[in-house]
């Protein structure tokens, strides 16, 4: 007498002897691993499951409802080992300890990437500058909630707008797969491992198909296991485990971040100062030029200082040498700052509350705020 397990293949139930089930699961698991880097993996697996199901159907009849272990072995031999047609040559032979291929591969460029969770701008699915999508990924919450929060903050004397613009200027963009993974707080290889384990757990669950109590028991166990893995993976994401960061990153990154933020803030104040007084901190900044030329020059200088710093910072995030946008990037940078200037003028001009709030800040800003309003009133 043998135990029988019900399984679900492409939506149809079949009954297998336990040994047959184990063999089939091992076969499908191996197939899944071999196809790891294949973009059509899910489809091929579904095709293979369907082919197996068809063979089961041909064996079953009115007087035969269970597939015995020997028949499963015969069918597996008949199917033959699954070979990845596209990547057979370049993919290393799969085996224990084989690295999950795919997105993780991209992350292993010349410089390893610290897999910690980081705040990025994410342009995928972004409405404006990718700040909200980045925040949503960082805190793992719905992006709509972040957008609503920002919308509310805008009504609070425009502070949401200012916050948004500042973050837009300061945050780096996530553009490589590794950076995307870091933005979501997951090293991509780790994410794949997570999915692999979840799938294995799912196959385990197929055993309980048809037995409600066993199913409930499995579900409880599976959930608690998933929670355990999550914890484990969070630890795996700790920057000190996993790959070592490039030498000196732990000193360089905070210093660079502080420097870039400082340049941004000083630049921002300098812009306010220029708009307000027609001069930068009373230094006599090209006063003989027309206003627009001075404005563009200042923006250009800010970008010139920021760009190399940003390039160096980028080099620590997985690129062997910095990241260069080319002339289009510089133009974009300048356009961003022009927009900032426009916003500053606009906020000062129409939001009296914002003006009042700045009154309680350091005298320099206080003075600047006053003059912008004067300037606005003169227009």
């Amino acid at each position: 007498m043998n135990k029988v397990i019900s399984i679900n293949l492409n939506g149809n139930a079949y009954q297998l002897e336990e040994g047959g089930f184990e063999a089939l699961r091992a076969y499908l698991d191996t197939a899944g691993r071999r196809l790891e880097s294949n973009p059509d993996k899910a489809e091929i697996i579904a095709d293979i499951e369907e082919a197996i199901a068809a063979k089961f159907r041909s064996l079953l009849g009115a007087n035969k409802t269970v597939i015995v272990e020997k028949e499963v072995a015969g069918i597996i031999a008949d199917m033959g080992p699954v070979e990845d047609a596209s990547g057979a040559a370049e993919a290393p032979p799969p085996g224990p300890g084989a690295q999950p291929a795919g997105a993780g591969k991209d992350a292993q460029g010349a410089a390893p990437v610290p897999p910690a969770r980081r705040l990025f701008k994410i342009h995928e699915g972004a409405k404006i500058g990718g700040v909200c999508t980045g925040l949503a990924a960082y805190f793992n919450i719905d992006v709509t909630l972040v957008r609503i929060a920002f919308a509310f903050l805008i009504f609070a004397w425009g502070s949401g707008l200012l916050l948004y613009v500042l973050m837009w200027l300061i945050l780096p963009s996530a553009s490589t797969p590794a950076e995307m993974a870091a933005a979501h707080g997951m090293a991509s290889a780790t994410a794949q491992e997570f999915i692999r384990r979840a799938r294995e757990g799912y196959y385990e669950g197929m055993k309980t198909f048809g037995d409600r109590r066993a199913y409930r028991e499995w579900k409880r166990k599976f959930k608690s296991e998933m929670r355990g893995w999550k914890r484990e993976m969070k630890w795996g994401l700790h920057p000190l485990s996993g790959q070592p960061p490039p030498a000196g990153a732990w000193i360089a990154l905070p210093v660079l971040n502080t420097l870039i933020s400082a340049v941004s803030i000083v630049g921002f104040i300098a812009l306010i100062s220029l708009v307000a007084t027609g001069d930068v901190f009373g230094l006599g900044f090209f006063v003989w030029w027309p206003f627009w030329a001075r404005l563009l020059t200042l923006i250009g200088i800010i970008c010139l200082v920021r760009c190399p710093l940003k390039a160096i910072r980028r080099s620590y995030y997985g690129y062997p040498w910095g990241y260069y946008w080319g002339p289009a990037g510089s133009l974009w940078c300048i356009l961003k700052w022009v927009f900032v200037v426009y916003l500053v003028i606009w906020i000062f001009g129409i939001h009296a509350g914002f003006h009042d709030a700045l009154y309680h800040l350091p005298p320099k800003l206080h003075h600047a705020a006053d003059s912008v309003q004067d300037w606005w009133n003169r227009q």
Binding site: A31, P39, I44, D47, A51, A54, R57, G80, P81, A85
Partner: protein
């Protein structure tokens, strides 16, 4: 490496060509292809054919459509795309050339 093993790699390389030929003749589903190949020295198993078909589809050589079948769920019926026919033609010509070379080379 025995002669037989050498044949294996030749067969492997030619399989795609053979599958193109089978699909070119008529709309077929995977089991049809296996059945037709099983009578030749190119007998193949599902484990090899499905990944190959998916690769060929990705390369836009073949395309499939779902069709109801009398027995069981709908099946994927494969057919050649224009690109697939082009490749079949090129490979056939190349094969003729290889045949001619084999015949003529070394002849006085």
């Amino acid at each position: 490496m025995s002669v037989n093993e050498k044949f294996t790699s030749i067969r492997k390389g030619l399989l795609e060509f053979l599958v193109l030929k089978v699909i070119a003749a008529d709309k077929v589903y995977a089991a049809d292809i296996l059945e037709q190949l099983s009578r030749t020295e190119f007998a193949t198993q599902e484990g090899t054919l499905y990944p190959l078909l998916s690769k060929m589809r990705r390369e836009e050589l073949v395309d499939y459509e779902w069709k109801e079948s009398d027995a069981g769920p709908p099946r994927k019926y494969y057919q050649l795309t224009a690109k697939g026919r082009e490749q079949l033609k090129e490979t056939s010509e190349y094969w003729q050339k290889i045949n001619a070379t084999l015949r003529n080379l070394g002849q006085p």
